[in-house]
Symmetry: C2
Subunit: 242 residues, 2 copies
């Protein structure tokens, strides 16, 4: 009768909190998206795993609830944080009366804004906005409005899901909106495969970012008007007098 919704960070156990590790160890079964569960198998070889493919999030969460209600201890795992475009929201929405009896633990993890930020330096070291460019569940008009508002407020911006096979030009469209308010020389960066093999990072200007091709495993960072590049680092000053 226990359900953990666990954010395990960007990849290997090194980036997982002890709380996340303990939650997985305490569970009878671990359920998650196929690709992410494969990242965990090697570290928890004794565990039973259950996977569902992408776009089957509702079925996955319902399975986790039903299995926990049936008496098992279940860890539903998400990459990054469980509450940032994660499964915690959907599980809590789906809980019906019987689910109310469950012991629910939402276990936070290191989201890509932070893990990717650390790879680049400190791009989000002042007020920032996190925006997903995926329009699977959100109307594109609302995404555009948020990009505009975030740029208008001179926020640092972190973009999740910047691209996919069907959304090849979304990053370009986002940059075009942002550059109405931010200089084309704004310092930007991105990190691909954060914390995994073949991790890559790049620092570039907003105008360069506009013509960059990134994939769905990439997290994009757009600086504010104060953000600088210093050597290999992208840094947003907090405002200390140096």
């Amino acid at each position: 009768m226990r359900l953990y919704i666990v954010g395990f960070g960007p990849g290997g156990t090194e980036y997982m909190t002890m709380e996340a590790r303990h939650a997985i160890e305490d569970s009878d079964v671990v359920v998650g998206y196929t690709v992410y569960v494969d990242l965990l198998r090697e570290y928890f070889q004794e565990k039973k795993f259950y996977t569902t493919p992408m776009k089957k999030e509702k079925e996955r969460c319902q399975w986790a609830i039903d299995t926990a209600v049936s008496g098992k201890r279940v860890a539903l795992v998400c990459s990054g944080d469980s509450g940032v475009y994660g499964m915690a929201g959907l599980v809590l929405e789906l809980l019906e009366e019987e689910g109310q009896k469950l012991e629910i633990y939402v276990v936070a993890g290191v989201t890509a804004a932070c893990s990717g930020g650390a790879v680049l330096g400190a791009p989000l070291n002042h007020d920032f906005a996190v925006i997903s460019l995926s329009d699977l569940l959100t109307p594109w008009e609302l995404i555009e409005k948020r990009l505009e508002c975030a740029a208008m407020g001179d926020f640092c911006i972190c973009l999740y899901n910047p691209s996919s096979r069907k959304r090849q030009d979304y990053l370009q469209r986002a940059c075009k909106i942002v550059e109405r308010y931010k200089s084309e020389n704004t310092v930007c960066g991105y990190v691909k495969n954060i914390g995994r093999e073949q991790q890559e990072k790049k620092i570039l200007t907003l105008s360069q970012l506009k013509s960059e091709q990134v994939d769905m495993f990439t997290t994009v960072f757009i600086g504010n008007s104060q953000t600088i590049q210093k050597g290999e680092w992208m840094v947003t000053p907090r405002g200390y007098q140096l």
Copy 2:
């Protein structure tokens, strides 16, 4: 010649990543703000610690750099994430030529938006903005502008440093700006002492939040137009059809 800038999450080692733990274990000396270092002493009793008080951030970072340049392994620790209002930015800004020879590792941690979010449920499960209400280093006019833009874009909003002895009415001022764009019934919440003894949480409406007195150890969450309260949880739906 090695400097780790380590985010250790909200408090105890349970919320720390393995990477953060290993960085501290690998260091000859651990330096940080007095209050946070005291949280760590009990877990790393063998370590040498060096502390500096609040408002001595620049001295602390410079000490960490100088000590690392002198040949020691240093862990500069920050609560939450090292790159979200943390010390990673300041260290990278302060690096002069000699510092360029250092091996620098920015180690991400679970920031309060995520650790506090998990306590409340999933308040930031859609696009969100993180804004600090501290005007020590940022002009209040810019904070106001960002509050306005975030509210206009219907972002979920997470407020850091919502109050202090000298800024008793800042949360109220922020709510007044936000309610120009968000309904007074918007679901809000806050968490005090995240992950520590005497952790407290509360869910309330925006109009109630406006007259709530919170302290500097509190993180505040303001929902978007879709955010709901479900039982004891604050949940922002991502948009799945249920």
